[in-house]
Subunit: 98 residues, 2 copies
Amino acid sequence: MNLPERSLAKALIYITYKNGVLDPQGLAVKGALASLGFEGVGDVRVGKYIEIELADSPPEEMKARAEKMCRDLLANPVIEDFRIELPASDALDAQDTQ
Amino acid sequence: MNLPERSLAKALIYITYKNGVLDPQGLAVKGALASLGFEGVGDVRVGKYIEIELADSPPEEMKARAEKMCRDLLANPVIEDFRIELPASDALDAQDTQ
Protein backbone atom coordinates (compact mmCIF):
# COMPACT_ATOMS: atom_id res chain seq x y z
CA MET A 1 0.00 0.00 0.00
CA ASN A 2 1.37 3.33 -1.07
CA LEU A 3 -0.94 5.61 0.91
CA PRO A 4 0.12 8.82 2.57
CA GLU A 5 -0.08 9.19 6.35
CA ARG A 6 -3.06 11.56 6.05
CA SER A 7 -6.48 10.24 6.87
CA LEU A 8 -8.90 9.38 4.09
CA ALA A 9 -12.37 10.71 3.39
CA LYS A 10 -14.96 9.35 1.02
CA ALA A 11 -16.22 11.00 -2.13
CA LEU A 12 -19.40 9.62 -3.67
CA ILE A 13 -19.72 9.79 -7.43
CA TYR A 14 -22.91 9.21 -9.39
CA ILE A 15 -22.59 8.71 -13.13
CA THR A 16 -25.67 8.64 -15.33
CA TYR A 17 -26.34 8.84 -19.03
CA LYS A 18 -27.34 12.29 -20.22
CA ASN A 19 -31.02 12.78 -20.94
CA GLY A 20 -31.78 11.59 -24.44
CA VAL A 21 -28.94 9.07 -24.60
CA LEU A 22 -30.20 5.52 -25.16
CA ASP A 23 -29.67 3.36 -22.06
CA PRO A 24 -29.74 -0.29 -23.22
CA GLN A 25 -29.16 -1.68 -19.72
CA GLY A 26 -32.09 0.37 -18.43
CA LEU A 27 -34.30 -0.96 -21.23
CA ALA A 28 -33.23 -4.51 -20.41
CA VAL A 29 -34.08 -4.01 -16.73
CA LYS A 30 -37.43 -2.50 -17.66
CA GLY A 31 -38.24 -5.50 -19.84
CA ALA A 32 -37.12 -7.96 -17.18
CA LEU A 33 -39.25 -6.24 -14.53
CA ALA A 34 -42.27 -6.44 -16.84
CA SER A 35 -41.70 -10.13 -17.49
CA LEU A 36 -41.47 -10.71 -13.73
CA GLY A 37 -44.94 -9.21 -13.38
CA PHE A 38 -44.08 -5.75 -12.04
CA GLU A 39 -46.66 -3.32 -13.40
CA GLY A 40 -46.65 0.44 -13.80
CA VAL A 41 -42.91 0.71 -14.34
CA GLY A 42 -41.90 3.74 -16.39
CA ASP A 43 -38.45 4.73 -17.50
CA VAL A 44 -35.46 2.87 -15.99
CA ARG A 45 -31.96 4.37 -16.09
CA VAL A 46 -28.92 2.45 -14.90
CA GLY A 47 -25.84 4.37 -13.85
CA LYS A 48 -22.75 3.90 -11.75
CA TYR A 49 -22.24 4.69 -8.09
CA ILE A 50 -18.60 4.95 -7.04
CA GLU A 51 -17.18 5.43 -3.56
CA ILE A 52 -13.59 6.65 -3.55
CA GLU A 53 -11.44 7.25 -0.50
CA LEU A 54 -9.31 10.35 -1.00
CA ALA A 55 -6.70 11.99 1.19
CA ASP A 56 -8.71 14.22 3.49
CA SER A 57 -8.42 17.85 2.45
CA PRO A 58 -10.70 20.89 2.17
CA PRO A 59 -14.00 20.03 0.46
CA GLU A 60 -13.38 22.24 -2.61
CA GLU A 61 -10.05 20.51 -3.17
CA MET A 62 -11.50 17.02 -2.78
CA LYS A 63 -14.34 17.89 -5.12
CA ALA A 64 -11.92 19.25 -7.71
CA ARG A 65 -9.84 16.05 -7.57
CA ALA A 66 -12.93 13.87 -7.88
CA GLU A 67 -14.12 15.95 -10.84
CA LYS A 68 -10.78 15.50 -12.56
CA MET A 69 -11.00 11.74 -11.98
CA CYS A 70 -14.45 11.73 -13.56
CA ARG A 71 -13.32 13.69 -16.61
CA ASP A 72 -10.10 11.70 -17.06
CA LEU A 73 -11.29 8.18 -16.34
CA LEU A 74 -14.61 7.45 -14.70
CA ALA A 75 -17.19 9.13 -16.91
CA ASN A 76 -17.54 9.70 -20.62
CA PRO A 77 -18.41 13.41 -20.70
CA VAL A 78 -19.84 13.10 -24.21
CA ILE A 79 -22.75 10.92 -23.13
CA GLU A 80 -22.64 10.88 -19.34
CA ASP A 81 -23.28 13.34 -16.52
CA PHE A 82 -21.65 12.99 -13.15
CA ARG A 83 -22.42 14.33 -9.70
CA ILE A 84 -20.13 14.34 -6.68
CA GLU A 85 -21.06 14.30 -3.01
CA LEU A 86 -18.80 14.61 0.00
CA PRO A 87 -20.80 13.15 2.87
CA ALA A 88 -20.06 13.83 6.50
CA SER A 89 -18.29 10.63 7.49
CA ASP A 90 -20.80 9.76 10.22
CA ALA A 91 -23.68 10.23 7.75
CA LEU A 92 -22.11 7.63 5.49
CA ASP A 93 -21.62 5.19 8.35
CA ALA A 94 -25.31 5.56 9.17
CA GLN A 95 -26.20 4.71 5.55
CA ASP A 96 -24.01 1.64 5.59
CA THR A 97 -25.94 0.01 8.41
CA GLN A 98 -28.90 -0.80 6.11
CA MET B 1 -46.40 1.73 -23.81
CA ASN B 2 -48.48 -0.14 -21.31
CA LEU B 3 -48.42 2.38 -18.48
CA PRO B 4 -51.34 3.11 -16.23
CA GLU B 5 -52.96 6.53 -16.21
CA ARG B 6 -51.43 7.32 -12.79
CA SER B 7 -48.49 9.65 -12.61
CA LEU B 8 -45.01 8.28 -12.05
CA ALA B 9 -42.52 9.01 -9.29
CA LYS B 10 -38.86 8.14 -9.17
CA ALA B 11 -37.23 5.66 -6.83
CA LEU B 12 -33.43 5.79 -6.54
CA ILE B 13 -31.65 2.51 -5.86
CA TYR B 14 -28.01 2.20 -4.81
CA ILE B 15 -26.46 -1.27 -5.03
CA THR B 16 -23.04 -1.90 -3.53
CA TYR B 17 -20.99 -4.96 -2.69
CA LYS B 18 -21.18 -5.93 0.97
CA ASN B 19 -18.15 -5.06 3.05
CA GLY B 20 -15.54 -7.75 2.66
CA VAL B 21 -16.65 -8.84 -0.80
CA LEU B 22 -13.90 -8.44 -3.39
CA ASP B 23 -14.71 -5.67 -5.87
CA PRO B 24 -12.61 -6.32 -9.00
CA GLN B 25 -13.97 -3.28 -10.85
CA GLY B 26 -13.07 -1.08 -7.89
CA LEU B 27 -9.53 -2.49 -7.85
CA ALA B 28 -9.22 -1.85 -11.58
CA VAL B 29 -10.33 1.76 -11.15
CA LYS B 30 -7.91 2.22 -8.26
CA GLY B 31 -5.05 0.90 -10.38
CA ALA B 32 -6.03 3.07 -13.34
CA LEU B 33 -6.20 6.20 -11.14
CA ALA B 34 -2.73 5.43 -9.79
CA SER B 35 -1.33 4.96 -13.29
CA LEU B 36 -2.88 8.31 -14.30
CA GLY B 37 -0.92 9.95 -11.51
CA PHE B 38 -3.64 10.44 -8.90
CA GLU B 39 -2.06 10.05 -5.49
CA GLY B 40 -3.49 9.31 -2.08
CA VAL B 41 -6.36 7.20 -3.37
CA GLY B 42 -7.57 4.61 -0.88
CA ASP B 43 -10.28 2.04 -1.37
CA VAL B 44 -12.50 2.31 -4.45
CA ARG B 45 -15.88 0.57 -4.62
CA VAL B 46 -17.97 0.53 -7.75
CA GLY B 47 -21.70 -0.06 -7.46
CA LYS B 48 -24.86 0.56 -9.41
CA TYR B 49 -27.18 3.52 -9.31
CA ILE B 50 -30.64 2.90 -10.74
CA GLU B 51 -33.47 5.36 -11.29
CA ILE B 52 -36.86 3.72 -11.72
CA GLU B 53 -40.13 5.46 -12.42
CA LEU B 54 -42.93 3.78 -10.50
CA ALA B 55 -46.64 4.47 -10.36
CA ASP B 56 -47.00 7.16 -7.73
CA SER B 57 -48.35 5.70 -4.48
CA PRO B 58 -47.71 6.13 -0.75
CA PRO B 59 -43.98 6.09 0.08
CA GLU B 60 -44.10 2.83 2.10
CA GLU B 61 -45.79 1.10 -0.83
CA MET B 62 -43.28 2.44 -3.37
CA LYS B 63 -40.39 1.45 -1.14
CA ALA B 64 -41.79 -2.06 -0.69
CA ARG B 65 -42.13 -2.47 -4.46
CA ALA B 66 -38.60 -1.21 -5.07
CA GLU B 67 -37.27 -3.59 -2.40
CA LYS B 68 -38.99 -6.52 -4.05
CA MET B 69 -37.47 -5.49 -7.41
CA CYS B 70 -34.04 -5.45 -5.77
CA ARG B 71 -34.46 -8.87 -4.20
CA ASP B 72 -36.00 -10.43 -7.32
CA LEU B 73 -33.83 -8.93 -10.04
CA LEU B 74 -31.58 -5.95 -9.44
CA ALA B 75 -29.31 -7.00 -6.58
CA ASN B 76 -27.68 -10.24 -5.54
CA PRO B 77 -28.55 -10.29 -1.82
CA VAL B 78 -25.78 -12.81 -1.14
CA ILE B 79 -23.00 -10.37 -1.96
CA GLU B 80 -24.69 -7.01 -2.41
CA ASP B 81 -26.45 -4.45 -0.23
CA PHE B 82 -29.05 -2.11 -1.59
CA ARG B 83 -30.48 1.17 -0.41
CA ILE B 84 -33.60 2.91 -1.69
CA GLU B 85 -34.41 6.61 -1.69
CA LEU B 86 -37.64 8.30 -2.68
CA PRO B 87 -36.66 11.88 -3.42
CA ALA B 88 -39.12 14.73 -3.49
CA SER B 89 -39.55 15.21 -7.23
CA ASP B 90 -38.35 18.83 -7.20
CA ALA B 91 -35.23 17.81 -5.24
CA LEU B 92 -34.33 15.38 -8.02
CA ASP B 93 -34.87 17.97 -10.72
CA ALA B 94 -32.50 20.27 -8.86
CA GLN B 95 -29.83 17.52 -8.83
CA ASP B 96 -30.21 16.94 -12.54
CA THR B 97 -29.22 20.47 -13.41
CA GLN B 98 -25.53 19.79 -12.53
